[in-house]
Structure formats: structure tokens, C-alpha cells
Symmetry: C2
Subunit: 241 residues, 2 copies
């Protein structure tokens, strides 16, 4: 019943999506079934941080969260990699809930787990063509059906990261296929290796403006929310903030 944990940090703010700006702690799990061309967390699956992975029980994770965050948090974000690979995540979510702590989690939606229906804010983030990954629509349909059946619509959002017009066309397909869910667009970070923070920040804002320009005139995007990666704007490509 152990989970492969790569880092635990916070409190900080959630930088993306439906909880953007929300104060939270992070638990990052190791392992991903994808290898997106522009992955900003490649260390979770490319072997480069292999020695940092610790197998932890849910109790150990919560102890570490409380050691670092003390009482200064009431929200935990589980990220990856793809935490949706881990069958045992349900126990950690239950333990956090028993302590009055809310849980957010993001997955690309390549695998379904029962415990998806326990997550307070679940973000499904299917990957667009620029990632070089293929979406398994049957799996995504199945996940969406389970979430709808379990009345999780208001606990779920869809988010697609956009690097170019082809990605935006893909995102529109996703939005139209699953119109029940609130939908977030996020400009991609095309320079995940740079350490020149000022350059990164201005570039991200440029991409954000481009994305806004793309969606504002189109009726099909009337209900969308467009948000930049706040943590990247503040801290550039640094890890653990």
C-alpha cells in the first residue's frame, strides 16, 4: 500500500486550472505512461530523479505534509507524473479527508481509478497533438461517464495546454465532446529548460496574450477560462515552489 513519492512541498499556491491561486501543499508522485514532447516534469518518469523516489504509506505522506506545512494548509494537490496510475491513492485521499483537508488532482485521463470520484477537484488534462501523444478516446469517454454517473460534474474540470493552432483545434474537439465540464485553456511553456526568468515570464505572457486573442472572437469558446501558469510566471522553471 505504498506510493512512489518524488517530492512533497508547500504551502504554496496552485499555479494552474480550476484552483489557480489557491493555497495548497503538493505531493508529486513518480511515473507516467506518457512522454510528452514538452513535459515540464520529465524528471518524474525519465529516470533522472530515480534516486529521489521514496515509497511511502498514506500515513507517512500525511506525516511529512504536517511536518513541512504544520497547520498552515487545508488543501493538498496530488500531481505527477500521472497519479492516475496508482490504484492505492484512494487511501491517501480518505486519510486527508478524515483530517478535513481537501484534495485536488490532475491526470491526463489515460487510466480510470475508482477514487477519481473522491477527488474534490479533479482535472482531466488530455494532451494535444504537439505533445506527440495519442488520446485514447474510449478511456476518456469511460472516465467521463463514471464521473457523470457519480454526480462529480462540479468537482471536475477539463484543461488543455496549447502550443499552436492544431492544439487549439484539438481542445475544441474535447470541449465539444464533454460540454458538461468547465473548460480551461492554458498557454504552453515552450522553454522548460531556460533559467533566464525574465525571458521566461515575458515569453509566457506573450503566449498567454496570443491564446486570449485566439479564443475571444469565437462563439465556440464562449464558456472558456484562459489562465497562464502562475507558478511559472513567478518562479520560472524552478522545482519545488
Amino acid at each position: 500500500m505504498k506510493l512512489p513519492v518524488l517530492e512533497i512541498f508547500g504551502p504554496t499556491i496552485q499555479g494552474e486550472g480550476m484552483m489557480a491561486g489557491k493555497k495548497t501543499m503538493f505531493v508529486r508522485t513518480a511515473g507516467c505512461d506518457y512522454s510528452c514532447a514538452w513535459c515540464d516534469s520529465a524528471f518524474t518518469w525519465d529516470g533522472s530523479a530515480k534516486e529521489e523516489i521514496i515509497q511511502m504509506s498514506p500515513e507517512e505522506v500525511v506525516n511529512e505534509l504536517e511536518r513541512i506545512g504544520q497547520s498552515a494548509f487545508s488543501h493538498v494537490t496530488i500531481s505527477g507524473g500521472n497519479p492516475g496510475l496508482l490504484k492505492n491513492m484512494g487511501a491517501l485521499i480518505s486519510l486527508l479527508h478524515s483530517k478535513g483537508i481537501e484534495v485536488g488532482l490532475e491526470t491526463q485521463g489515460s487510466r480510470y481509478q475508482d477514487w477519481f470520484c473522491e477527488v474534490d477537484q479533479l482535472t482531466l488534462s488530455p494532451k494535444p497533438p504537439s505533445s506527440k501523444m495519442d488520446t485514447n478516446w474510449d478511456t476518456l469517454d469511460l472516465i467521463v461517464n463514471e464521473l457523470v454517473t457519480h454526480k462529480r460534474i462540479h468537482h471536475t474540470s477539463l484543461k488543455v495546454v496549447i502550443f499552436n493552432e492544431e492544439d487549439l483545434a484539438y481542445a475544441k474537439t474535447v470541449h465539444q465532446r464533454y460540454p458538461q465540464f468547465s473548460f480551461y485553456l492554458q498557454p504552453g511553456n515552450d522553454d522548460v529548460l531556460s533559467t533566464d526568468d525574465t525571458k521566461i515570464k515575458l515569453r509566457l505572457l506573450e503566449c498567454y496574450e496570443w491564446l486570449i486573442d485566439q479564443v475571444v472572437q469565437e462563439k465556440e469558446w464562449n464558456d472558456v477560462t484562459v489562465l497562464p501558469q502562475l507558478h511559472a510566471l513567478v518562479w520560472g522553471n524552478k522545482r519545488g515552489v
Copy 2:
């Protein structure tokens, strides 16, 4: 039944608060009962844009929204100035609702109007000490009581703009007085006259990081959301975007 309108623009994105990033049109009304030291919309009340004010009926406002935005919007944000001064706003809100359009509105909470309970996303943004304005707590209590009585908790949020530690102490008082509402903190823009966009953007991100640092370690801020002004990050101090 006319409304003093200063500008109508969009579609663009909402830059602040509970609907940050959401695609929307803007209707900006003229007139404010405050004169905040750092007001970023002083032209709405200081006489400098007096000639631009047009008295418009709700029908005329909607016609203009549809002329500019065509069918590319399903949300309208009413801002000011203080739109909470206008008794007749209810008719515009009803007309927008009858067309399936959602309405967001922000006010500092110095005056109550019945139609507050019709707004889909109402932001109460009381002003901290750096504004040099005094909060009328009796009025704010009354507004909050009305909203609670009418079951508007999930349609309302509180937002305080922060320039310094004194403002943050004020914000904590507001948060603790009205714990029912979701609470947003926003770093102040201390350079509303600059036209050097790069300077503004980097400065805003610096203030945002400072604000995050202030709140992450404090238990009293566990439920807060901290967001920058996205429109200022993208467009600097430009009007009408």
C-alpha cells in the same frame, strides 16, 4: 431608467477575482462614492472622461454589447466606478439573463441594492487602509446579511487588494468577519500611470510573489486564493482591453 455608461468592450478575459481568466464582455459605469488613493479607474469619477459618459437604457446597452461582441460572448462583467450606486441596474441584469447571459459585478460594498441578489458572480471588494478610504462596517454587514438570507453565498466572493502589511491585517479582519465567502487576495498595482509595460509586468509579479510569501505560512489564510491582475500582466495599464 438610463445608466451612465463610460465604456463597453470585449470580448476579452476577466482579469481578477473569482472569474479570473473567464471570457467576458465589459460594461463600465461612471461614478464612484470613493476616491481611492491608488484607483486604477479614476477616469470613472474624477471628471477627466466626463464627455465620454453616455446615458443608456438597458436595451441600448445590450444592443451595443451585441454589436461589438456579436454572438461571441455569454458572460458580461459590470464594473465601474461603483455600479452599486445605480438603483436601475436590475433591469439590465434581467435583460441579460433573459438572453441566457451570465452577469458578474464588482462593488466595494458601500451601498446595498436589491439586485445584488440577482448577480451571478458578485464580488465585494472593501478597500484597505492604503486606499485612504474608511469601511462602513454596518453597511457591509447589512449587505452580507442580505446575501446570506437570499442564499447567495456561492454567488458571492470577497476580494481585497493589498499594497502593504497594514492592508493584509485589514484583509484578515474582513476574512474573519465574513468566513462564509470565498476570499481572494490581489496584489495592488502601485504604478497605474506607467507606460513601460515590461517594468509594470515584472513589478506586478514581484508584488504577487511578496503577497504569496506573506500568506502561505499563516494558518488564518489556509482557505485563501491569491491572484494577480491578469489583464495588467498582459496589457499593462491600457484601457479597454
